[in-house]
């Protein structure tokens, strides 16, 4: 996994709450057996609408998504994270993420930055005034920044310490766990014999 320290990119306001993973990528797009090529399915139904925010030219290079609360609810499909990444997104900012989506983001290297609802509104207001403006998501200092001068926005975001550490260092979870393989073997040796087995 690539290291994530800080990212500055064009931010796109997605002014909807409860953006479920069926909206991020409908099931019909989940049939690939690779981790790439899912950008076509990203927000597929909404992108049919020419007025949909991602279709506007000022957001063509967007890499930061600023969404309403309860982003990523529903299905566990990691394809939702891959679709965002394949499209070019590096970070999602929201006031509340569904647990599985947040976990999948951390594993796949997409930064899910949780901020106060007021911060989302401030960034939305800023983007309304300055469409195509950039937002910085700084994982080292856990801050989001936008704008300049007296109206500049700078606020902290929440991310759990362990996910932050892994993202900053680009660490592979399986590799970390296997350094503790002896603990797994010890645990396995004391499992009750009546626990079910499939083979």
């Amino acid at each position: 996994m690539d290291k994530f320290t800080t990212h500055t990119g064009v931010a796109v306001p997605l002014k909807r709450s409860n953006v479920d993973t069926d909206q991020i990528i409908p099931a019909v797009y989940l049939k690939r057996v690779t981790r790439t090529g899912f950008e076509d399915g990203l927000f597929a139904a909404w992108r049919n609408d020419p007025e949909f925010v991602l279709n506007r030219p000022e957001y063509a290079e967007a890499s930061v998504l600023v969404a309403g609360p309860d982003f990523g609810t529903g299905s566990s499909r990691e394809h939702a994270v891959w679709a965002l990444q394949n499209y070019g997104f590096k970070a999602v900012i929201s006031s509340r993420f569904a647990d599985i989506f947040r976990g999948n983001s951390g594993k796949a290297g997409l930064l899910a930055a949780q901020v106060d609802e007021k911060v989302v509104q401030k960034i939305w207001d800023h983007l309304d005034e300055h469409p195509g403006a950039t937002v910085t998501v700084d994982l080292e200092s856990r801050t989001v920044r936008a704008g300049e001068g007296p109206d500049a926005i700078e606020d902290s975001f929440d991310i759990d310490d362990y996910t932050r550490y892994r993202l900053l260092n680009g660490l592979d979870d399986i590799g970390i766990t296997l350094t503790n393989e002896a603990d797994i073997t010890t645990y396995e040796a004391q499992r009750p014999s009546w626990k079910p087995a499939t083979l």
């Binding site: 069926d22 909206q23 299905s75 759990d160 766990t177 603990d183 083979l199």
Partner: protein, 471 residues
């Protein structure tokens, strides 16, 4: 201080615990299907890793499979590739697979319990958010993404931060004709889709204890729809009776040892939950959704709400968007909403009790003109049991389509899909935009409401059928 049920199960599975790190949890059972596993097996191959415990892993084909012509090659080449990939991976890595055509094939969350692999006190994961279903047995069961699927395949463990605990106590008894599905839909409208976020929830109270195992599975299945990490129910005699004699259940001295342990899996008297919700089952009624998330629900006797009636702006905007998508006018009685397709099935309501109840209501009636009824058993075993009992004849006689086992119309991935603008009453778990097919409009309902709706063509309860007969 005592421990809650979920804390007991959690603590029994901690392989390693360190300050500032998530716990490393041992996984007792890893369920796999074709959609969320190919990239995980690829990852193993690239790293030269094996499946650590194929003996704790089980694969089945469910999301992508057709429910018609399942004995023929899958017609959609992309779907076929995904299914073939699972077969190759299962073969290469030594994983037990129940493919299409196998007698044990079916929806992964129906197959685990019916095989007796789902047992109290276990940790169970699957690359599917409805893994919470297995919590009905007093297991910690939750959905994971594909990176985590790979992690479990390689290590049989997962790194997990310990969630907070919540108790949902449902007192009283459900009135006649009101089901576990109505109970959980009522709860989700009460909490909203994010209300359970960060919690493992224990469902308890008289109404929960009175549910059958299948009803308990329906409740736990939808834990994810209000954002909970997992939902579980303390095992009791109902649980033990259900498991005993199942193919993979312990026997003899193992059974006695297992039950002795399972009986300890209850929340201690002096345990503290981080949060508690209390509801009264006796006031619950048949409940249906009007919107595009499972928290947008109303009693069947109610009306489509006015978006202006919501206090929070985001709820107001959400309701406006939902009504537009659903093609509904505020104030319309739910009972007047015409339905094109009724779907009976899914990991929420595709088990034998569900089919029995649907058949009981539909017997002697015909599916309304202009409405179709799709009945999809959750597994081949459920289908066979239903056919042994003659339930299929009741459905076919009424004009319904009797299908093969799979996820079917619950998600728009296999051939069973709604067309744009088509409206369904569905016993599944999600009413998201396009969930059942692009442009499709979904009302989540219980089995009795689905059956009665199929007969009347508008959202209905069995009580409405009595009037139909006497008129």
């Amino acid at each position: 201080m005592g421990k809650t049920l979920s804390e007991k199960v959690w603590d029994e599975h901690v392989v390693r615990s360190a300050q500032g790190e998530p716990d490393l949890l041992f996984i007792d059972l890893h369920l796999i299907h074709e959609v969320t596993s190919p990239q995980a097996f690829d990852g193993l191959r690239l790293a030269g890793r094996k499946v650590r415990r194929p003996d704790l892993t089980l694969a089945t084909e469910d999301h992508n499979v057709p429910t018609l012509d399942w004995d023929k090659p899958i017609a959609d080449p992309v779907s076929k590739t995904q299914v073939d990939t699972l077969r190759r991976n299962a073969d290469e890595f030594g994983v037990r697979l129940h493919p299409l055509g196998d007698i044990e094939q079916g929806i992964v969350h129906v197959v685990g319990p019916q095989l007796g692999l789902t047992q109290p006190g276990m940790t169970i994961v699957c690359g599917d958010s409805h893994t919470s279903t297995h919590g009905a047995f007093g297991a910690i069961a939750f959905g994971i993404g594909t990176s985590e699927v790979e992690h479990v395949l390689a290590t049989q463990t997962l790194m997990q931060a310990k969630p907070k605990t919540m108790a949902v106590t449902i007192n009283g008894s459900l009135p006649e004709g009101v089901t576990a599905k109505d109970m959980v839909l009522t709860l989700i409208t009460h909490t909203g889709t994010g209300g359970g976020q960060g919690y493992i929830v224990e469902y308890r109270g008289q109404a929960i204890e009175e549910l059958s195992m299948e009803g308990r599975m329906t409740v736990c299945n939808m834990s994810i729809e209000w954002g909970a990490k997992a939902g579980l129910i303390a095992p009791d005699q109902t649980t033990f009776d259900y498991i005993e004699g199942k193919p993979e259940a312990p026997t003899g001295a193992d059974w006695d040892a297992a039950v002795a342990h399972w009986k300890t899996l209850v929340t201690d008297e002096d345990a503290q939950f981080d949060k508690e919700i209390v509801l009264d089952a006796s006031t619950m009624t048949p409940f249906v959704t009007w919107g595009t998330n499972p928290g947008q629900g109303v009693p069947l006797g109610g009306n489509v709400p006015d978006p202006e009636s919501f206090e929070e702006e985001q709820d107001r905007v959400g309701a406006e968007n939902a009504l537009k998508y659903m093609g509904l006018e505020a104030g319309t009685p739910m009972r007047e909403v015409h339905v094109d397709t009724v779907f009976v099935g899914s990991c929420t309501n595709g088990r034998i009790e569900d089919l029995r109840l649907a058949a009981e209501i539909i017997k002697g009636h015909k599916v309304a003109e202009g409405t179709r009824l799709l009945v999809v058993p959750g597994s081949v075993r459920v289908r066979m049991q239903a056919e042994t009992e003659g339930l299929h004849e009741v459905f076919i006689e009424a004009g319904a389509e009797w299908r093969g086992a799979g996820c079917s119309m619950c998600l728009g991935m296999n051939p069973d899909q709604l067309t744009p603008g088509e409206r369904s009453a569905s016993t599944s778990n999600r009413n998201f935009e396009g969930r059942q097919g692009k442009g499709g409009r979904t009302h989540l309902v219980s089995i009795p409401v689905a059956a009665a709706t199929a007969v009347r063509g508008t959202l209905s309860s069995p009580a409405d059928l009595t009037e139909l007969t006497t008129v």
